[in-house]
């Protein structure tokens, strides 16, 4: 048989969605795009679980007294919410879904470096998730997602070890995905795609992968040590058997602070892609943007002690960690300025992805600035462990992370599904989410300043009004989150065909058909210029 010409193969090759469509073909696929969709379904399911827990908490908090649930149930709800949202939604959200789908396309590769490892990562993730869900079903865990010792290692009456095992297993999925992406970026870039021609989304996924590979093992070690103490009674964290409770906090935050950057850096990459596309302009200050991603990733490893200003750690440690925390906020601030400067003298189209990005800019700025409040020593003493902290990290992780994730899902939806989403209702959903989010979480800043501690299911009456506003906001937010679920599902089957490049964007992923064929490109693309090379306006 004569080999077909490339053009003929492209015509013959079905999209990654076509070809075999059996369940077995999906569960055994090595195609990065299908694996991305497996992740998309899995983390959406986990998001629903975490959101239901949040909804029950907000419902309970609408009244100051125990009304809906018992305190043991409430404590299990916030533990579930934190564990599921952090490890089974936010951390895999952009890297494992959009990273998996877009990264090989964006560098002109046919797949990731290790497709089998990629599929294995998903199976490990699902296994970890099922163990965690099992822990919830058999009775739950009441330690909070932070698992502070000695409460978790000796006093807690929940299924701590089962849940810790689930997180422990899922961690290996993070490590494998991170490793895969690092090798992919190093080895599989298209000809001419030098490091400083990489789209910022690739830089962001690359930096995130480094954090995943370096930080996640520390989490595994920490959970293992906690297990040694809880099961075998080895004194590590409990002072009654010779341990030190603060050691746990140091180890936990050595992972969990960088984990915050795992949740936000990929979002910064998505924002850079969208803002250039809908402003029709190169990114302002590309080298600074790339370097700031790397410096945030690096400095992020040096600030864990700012979670411990009132823990009785040394005063000197507190001062040093405060200083370093201020330093890590400089590159974040610079990024915001550069994004706005990118829009300046651009040609701006207010499409849904850009609406999400504008929401991201507002919420990330507020979240970042209130993070500076918490890095300020004397102020943190008052605000630590109050609702101010809850509001702050939700502004970063939900206002920043989830807005960027949804923005990215909409931006690349035509590429993923080959179809357009309905613009009007999508824009309405974006605005609803923005309004609902602020209604839910802004009152929590005030509650925190007034002194309402976190993880309280009952509270003094003076906090009632603000809690009611927050609960009503959560209702609006829920509507905003349900809408995309509905219209994106509809669009997947019924949306108008998108064509290869509906936004007129520059990235390599837009040079192939939508949805892309297996192995992505008919011919390996060759890169000859910088990223975001939009024609002069």
């Amino acid at each position: 048989m004569n080999p077909a010409t490339p053009a003929e193969r492209q015509d013959a090759a079905p999209s990654y969605l076509g070809g075999e469509t059996t369940v077995a073909s999906w569960l055994g696929t090595l195609d990065h795009k299908r694996i991305a969709l497996l992740y998309l379904f899995t983390i959406t399911a986990f998001f629903v679980v975490g959101a239901v827990a949040a909804a029950l908490m907000r419902w309970q908090l609408a009244v100051p007294t125990a009304d809906l649930v018992t305190s043991d149930t409430y404590n299990r709800l916030f533990t579930l919410h934190g564990v599921v949202m952090v490890w089974f939604f936010l951390i895999p959200s952009i890297p494992a879904v959009l990273g998996n789908f877009i990264l090989p396309l964006a560098i002109g590769a046919r797949d990731v470096a290790f497709p089998r490892l990629n599929l294995a990562s998903w199976y490990i993730f699902v296994a970890g998730g099922l163990v965690t869900l099992y822990a919830i079903v058999v009775g739950g865990v009441d330690t909070g997602w932070t698992f502070y010792t000695p409460y978790s290692s000796t006093y807690s009456n929940g299924h701590v070890m089962v849940m810790a095992a689930g997180i422990f297993v899922a961690g290996f999925s993070s490590i494998a995905t991170g490793l895969n992406f690092i090798v992919t970026v190093h080895k599989l870039r298209a000809p001419g795609l030098t490091w400083f021609r990489l789209p910022l989304f690739v830089w962001a996924i690359y930096a995130t992968s480094i954090i995943m590979v370096l930080a996640t093992p520390v989490l595994a070690i920490t959970l293992l040590l906690m297990g040694l103490e809880r099961v075998l009674g080895v004194g590590i964290f409990d002072p009654r058997i010779g341990g030190d409770p603060l050691l746990f906090q140091h180890l936990f935050w050595f992972y969990s602070h960088p984990a915050v950057y795992i949740m936000i850096l990929p979002g910064m990459g998505v924002v850079s892609e969208i803002i250039t596309c809908f402003s029709r302009k190169r990114i302002f200050g590309y080298p600074v943007m790339a370097v700031s991603i790397l410096s945030i990733a690096g400095l992020g490893f040096l600030v864990w002690g700012h979670h411990m200003f009132v823990s009785s750690q040394s005063v000197y440690a507190g001062v040093v960690f405060s200083f370093l925390s201020f330093m890590v906020s400089v590159p974040s601030a610079i990024k915001v300025f550069n994004w706005i400067a990118t829009m300046y003298r651009g040609s701006i189209t207010l499409s849904t992805p850009l609406l999400y990005v504008l929401g991201f800019l507002a919420l990330f700025t507020i979240g970042g600035l209130t993070g500076v409040f918490l890095a300020t020593l004397a102020v943190d003493v008052h605000l630590h462990d109050t609702y101010f902290v809850i509001a702050h990290f939700h502004y970063i992780m939900v206002g920043g992370g989830v807005m960027a994730y949804l923005g990215g899902v909409h931006y690349w939806w035509p590429k993923i599904s080959g179809r357009m989403f309905p613009e009007g209702i999508a824009a309405f959903a974006a605005v609803t989410i923005f309004v609902g989010f602020n209604l839910t979480f802004f009152p929590q800043y005030l509650l925190g300043y007034l002194g309402m501690p976190r993880r309280y299911m009952t509270y003094p009456a003076e906090f009632h009004t603000l809690n009611v506003i927050s609960t009503l906001g959560a209702l609006v937010l829920a509507v905003g989150y349900v809408l995309p679920l509905v219209y994106l599902t509809w669009s997947f089957f019924r949306g108008a065909p998108a064509g290869p490049n509906p936004w007129g964007a520059t990235g390599l992923e837009w040079q192939t058909s939508s949805p892309p064929p297996e192995e992505n490109f008919r011919e390996t693309p060759v890169v000859t210029g910088p990223p975001y090379d939009y024609p002069p306006l």
Partner: protein, 324 residues
């Protein structure tokens, strides 16, 4: 609008400023709020103007900017860093003053346990979930936990300190307004965490004197006397008052002095040292002595340990004599 003003008035009214540190913390907070709001307002207005002026198809000029990008970047980085440095120093300055506890303050011992605060005064009074303090009199709160980590949080004083099992941690405040202020446990500690509330009652000197005369639960004598009872119960004198002074180091005058350990390390004999040396004694072999003292961990409870330390502290100036 008037309703909004009333609402924001209510918010600021809800959180009293009742300690010497509170206005200093609020001042830093106001500076942060001013800087933060300015940034948010400027960026929002700027973004809105850009969105309208440079919307697709508008006639505004798109000629490339004449200012070099690196100059703009350098000025942003420098400007941000300078503002941040200022805020860092402002916050760190107040924090260092919070952490530097003035010497010689009257002490209240507070032991956290699931889910209550056990409050003991030096004069032998004892209360649960309530602290009485005198207006304009700085007081040191010595904190310990019997089980998990708790956190001593009085929003009106802007005071928060984690209460860590196995450690003795102190905080202090100088109450500047009479009234009753809520004490929260701020570190999640299990089932009834949200019910681990208490109050701090700040009394005028006259009221405080009246209160001090009143009959409250007695904790069994002054802290010093209670500590002496513990000292006798566990037979500490047998070794520590050995006439030849060979079996164990003498304890009179120990508090506040420098102790040299067998490995050459020198430690100040403060609250934490005494606590650890009693409960985890095998870790502290004092130079010149054999390690004969067993660990009293789990044998002497946290409250007794604090009383014992109070007794040793009272004996800091004089050699320990056998008291009647």
């Amino acid at each position: 609008m008037s309703r909004f003003l009333a609402f924001s008035g209510a918010i600021s009214g809800w959180l009293p400023t009742a300690s010497s540190m509170a206005p200093r913390v609020d001042r830093v907070l106001r500076d942060l709020l001013a800087a933060g709001s300015a940034v948010v307002v400027v960026l929002t207005v700027l973004t809105l103007v850009i969105l309208v002026r440079y919307r697709r198809g508008s006639a505004a000029s798109r000629a490339p900017s004449r200012i070099a990008t690196w100059k703009i970047e350098a000025s942003w980085i420098t400007g941000t860093a300078i503002v941040f440095l200022y805020l860092f120093f402002e916050g760190a300055g107040v924090y260092v003053d919070m952490e530097r506890i003035p010497p010689g303050l009257p002490e209240i011992t507070v032991v956290g346990r699931q889910w209550m605060w056990d409050v003991r005064y030096a004069d032998g009074r004892r209360e649960f979930n309530t602290l009485h303090v005198r207006l304009n009199t700085p007081v040191r709160v010595v904190l310990s936990s019997e089980d998990v980590i708790h956190s001593f949080f009085v929003p009106a004083f802007r005071v928060k300190q984690d209460v860590v099992p196995g450690k003795i941690v102190s905080t202090w405040f100088n109450p500047t307004r009479t009234g009753t202020y809520t004490l929260f446990c701020a570190q999640y500690c299990g089932t009834a965490h949200a019910q681990m509330l208490g109050s701090v009652v700040v009394l005028s000197p006259g009221d405080y004197a009246t209160w001090a005369r009143g009959g409250l639960l007695s904790a069994g004598g002054t802290a010093e006397a209670r500590g002496h009872a513990v000292y006798r119960r566990f037979g500490c004198a047998e070794c520590h008052e050995d006439p030849q002074g060979r079996r164990a180091p003498p304890l009179g005058g120990l508090y506040g002095s420098l102790v040299t350990l067998a490995d050459g390390e020198q430690l100040r004999a403060d609250d934490q040292y005494l606590h650890d040396a009693i409960l985890l004694s095998p870790r502290y072999r004092v130079s010149g002595y054999a390690l004969t003292m067993p660990s009293y961990d789990g044998i002497i409870g946290p409250s007794d340990a604090l009383d014992l330390i109070a007794y040793l502290k009272a004996s800091a100036t004089a050699p320990l004599a056998v008291q009647p």
